[in-house]
């Protein structure tokens, strides 16, 4: 794993940097690969078990690659009271996946988060790091359609090129 070398620079043999290092691995790789965990364990001087435990414990880390689009539904109290459950139902019905999963074509990952702290504008959905306020199932449907639609367009573009 040459790609995570720069992350380890200046942090070798510092076990307390484990979470920070894994954050950066997550950012660069999009998830925490097994090999990266082994490298991190070796370089920081942390037992592999501990690295595996940390990667599993914190929500910031995913052990599977995520889709191209990540849709995060906030399920904080304010969002719940204003109907974030409906948004989850919408996703389940439209994409046929459970929160935490990725569609088979690898296009969309749906996740839930326990509060993003933008409660006054509830319910909140985050699509690839941009925050969307006052969401409704209908708005979410369009967003998902759009995310799926991109694929069709790309596919047709590819056909044109070939």
């Amino acid at each position: 794993m040459t790609t995570i070398e720069p992350i380890l620079e200046g942090r070798r043999s510092q076990p307390d940097q484990l979470i920070e290092v894994l954050q950066d691995v997550q950012k660069i790789c999009g998830y925490i690969p097994q090999d990266a965990m082994k490298t991190v364990a070796r370089e920081l001087g942390v037992p592999l078990m501990e690295v595996y435990r940390v990667a599993n414990f914190y929500k910031a880390f995913t052990l599977k690659p995520r889709g191209k689009n990540v849709i995060t539904i906030c399920t904080g109290t304010a969002c719940h009271v204003r109907g974030s459950d409906l948004l989850i139902d919408q996703v389940k019905g439209q994409l046929n996946i459970e929160p935490g999963d990725t569609t088979k074509d690898g296009l969309i990952t749906v996740e839930c988060v326990n509060c993003l702290g933008a409660c006054a504008l509830a319910p909140i959905v985050v699509q690839n790091e941009s925050y969307l306020d006052h969401m409704s199932p209908a708005k979410l449907r369009k967003i998902i359609d759009h995310a799926k639609g991109k694929k069709k367009k790309e596919a047709s573009d590819a056909q044109v090129q070939s």
Partner: protein, 229 residues
């Protein structure tokens, strides 16, 4: 010379080595505090909560695990109050409903006075006492096992769920697992789990002092410290 402190456990003055835990101090003098995750020579984590006691201070009391509580001069501990018995019974009920297929857990339920289980039984084979994990990491420094995940999904696992090559094959993890002793009548089938309770007669305590240890048979089941030392 070992420095000692004097504390009161269940109204009896007890001398204990400075730095010892209240649980060890009580067991030493034969006061029975039931316990599950505590194992001598391993670090106590206070995970199973079975060994709870009341720490009475200035008229008010705090419920805390005796394995993680260090003895202090003048401490006043209640191990067997009405409140503690009730809480302990409820905790044991949760445990036995989770893992009825372990004689050790069934024995703890008997010792803690569980008469009925008010939750639907589950048939899990781990109560996460962490004995295996601590043996592996502390005693053998192998770090081949650990708690993975959190909340409901927390489990004991190898890294990447496969036995690593640095596992020393010592076998401690199974040896000290309270699940490794099956109930006398054989494993209970799914849907047929029940509170056994047959060993109730063995939960003998000394007639006059409630909670005094008589090295009863039950302790063998859950490897009570008094049977291990």
């Amino acid at each position: 010379m070992i420095q000692t402190v004097t504390l009161t456990i269940d109204g009896v003055p007890v001398k204990a080595a400075k730095g010892a835990s209240v649980l060890d101090a009580a067991l030493e003098v034969g006061i029975c505090i039931p316990h599950l995750c505590h194992v001598p020579f391993l670090q106590d984590t206070g995970a199973c909560r079975i060994c709870i006691v009341e720490n009475v201070k200035n008229g008010s009391s705090r419920v805390t695990t005796s394995c993680t509580l260090t003895v202090q001069e003048g401490m006043n501990i209640q191990t067997n109050s009405e409140k503690i018995r009730k809480l302990r019974r409820n905790l044991a009920e949760l445990l036995v409903a989770q893992a009825p297929n372990s004689k050790a857990i069934q024995d703890i339920a008997v010792r803690c006075g569980v008469k009925e289980v008010r939750y639907p039984f589950r048939n899990e084979n781990c109560v996460q006492c962490g004995r295996c994990v601590r043996y592996c990491t502390e005693m053998w420094k192998a770090n081949a096992l650990g708690f993975v995940g959190r909340g409901k999904n927390r489990r004991v696992e190898f890294p990447f769920a496969t036995r690593p090559d640095f596992c020393k094959n010592c076998g401690s993890c199974t040896l000290y697992c309270p699940m490794s002793i099956t109930p006398c009548g054989g494993p209970m089938k799914r849907g047929e789990e029940h509170l056994c309770g047959k060993c109730e007669s063995q939960a003998v305590t000394a007639p006059n002092i409630i909670g005094a240890c008589t090295r009863c048979e039950l302790g063998k089941g859950f490897s009570c410290t008094r049977h291990m030392l």
